[in-house]
């Protein structure tokens, strides 16, 4: 992390001088006041200069974008990456010709990528971010598929009057099924097993 210690007649002047050295702006840094300084008698005797330490904050969002861009490029896939940031939620939207490579079977590559970006962005950062990576509307399509699956399996549970267990899914995919079946209210659902084998059970 970049940091610099600077001094000046006042705290404000010291900060300014540090910002110039770092070539950045006030909102990009954290200021640690080491000595507030003293005016001294008539501004001459016993005056002490103010000393501050200025630390450049890591721009987590920028780093996340660099990370995903670099990884995808190194995977040998050409993709356009659009980023939207909504307070502490970052969404990356990938598009391109060979996008299937980045999605993988049942989105496993997309999910792995999402998990790695999540780790990279939240590593020793101040702000906690959640990360979603979408590719060519995959998440929306997947949501429709999961809702359809959930409804069909609920029908089956009611018909055979037995519990129906679904295959393991990540948390947010289970949530989609839980919420659609909760809305309907005809069956109860819960999750069973330990990650990464946690799966939904539908009870009539």
């Amino acid at each position: 992390m970049k940091e610099v210690t600077a001094s000046g007649q006042t705290v404000e002047e010291a900060v300014q001088s540090a910002l110039e050295q770092l070539n950045t702006t006030r909102d990009q840094v954290e200021v640690d006041i080491i000595d507030e300084g003293k005016k001294g008698l008539l501004g001459v005797f016993g005056s002490k200069r103010a000393i501050v330490k200025v630390i450049v904050k890591k721009n987590q969002v920028e780093e996340a974008k660099n990370f995903i861009t670099e990884v995808i490029r190194n995977m040998g896939v050409e993709a356009q990456i659009d980023m939207t940031v909504d307070s502490n939620h970052i969404t990356f939207d990938l598009s391109g010709e060979k996008i299937a490579v980045l999605i993988g079977k049942r989105g496993q590559t997309l999910n792995a990528l999402q998990y790695l970006v999540h780790l990279a962005v939240n590593k020793d950062g101040e702000q906690y971010y959640t990360v979603t990576i979408d590719a060519e509307g995959y998440r929306e399509r997947r949501r429709e598929t999961l809702e359809g699956l959930g409804l069909r399996m609920a029908e089956k549970a009611k018909r055979i009057q037995r519990k129906v267990a679904l295959e393991p899914m990540p948390a947010y995919e289970r949530k989609i099924i839980h919420s659609i079946l909760q809305e309907k209210g005809e069956v109860t659902t819960y999750s069973d097993g330990v990650e990464p084998h946690r799966h939904i059970v539908i009870k009539p």
Partner: protein
């Protein structure tokens, strides 16, 4: 491929200078061996190997010219 592994692992560890990726080409497969600083081992493996699994998933998905199977060995 080596660059891919390094670019994934670098932001996850505290000692990026200690990342070593070695390649071992065998008859039917190419084995990449990833070694990191001792303190960082947990950061590339994760709880129940979750991070290691994610790294492998991304690495195996990458396109390669070779027809050989790729393996990623961690530590």
């Amino acid at each position: 491929m080596k660059a891919l592994i390094e670019s994934i692992v670098t932001p996850l560890v505290d000692h990026p200078e200690d990342i070593v990726v070695t390649v071992n080409e065998e008859d039917t497969k190419i084995v990449y061996h990833l070694a990191v600083h001792q303190e960082d081992v947990g950061k590339v493996i994760g709880k129940n190997g979750r991070i290691a699994k994610a790294i492998r998933t991304v690495v195996y998905a990458a396109k390669t010219d070779a027809t050989k199977r790729i393996y990623l060995d961690i530590m």
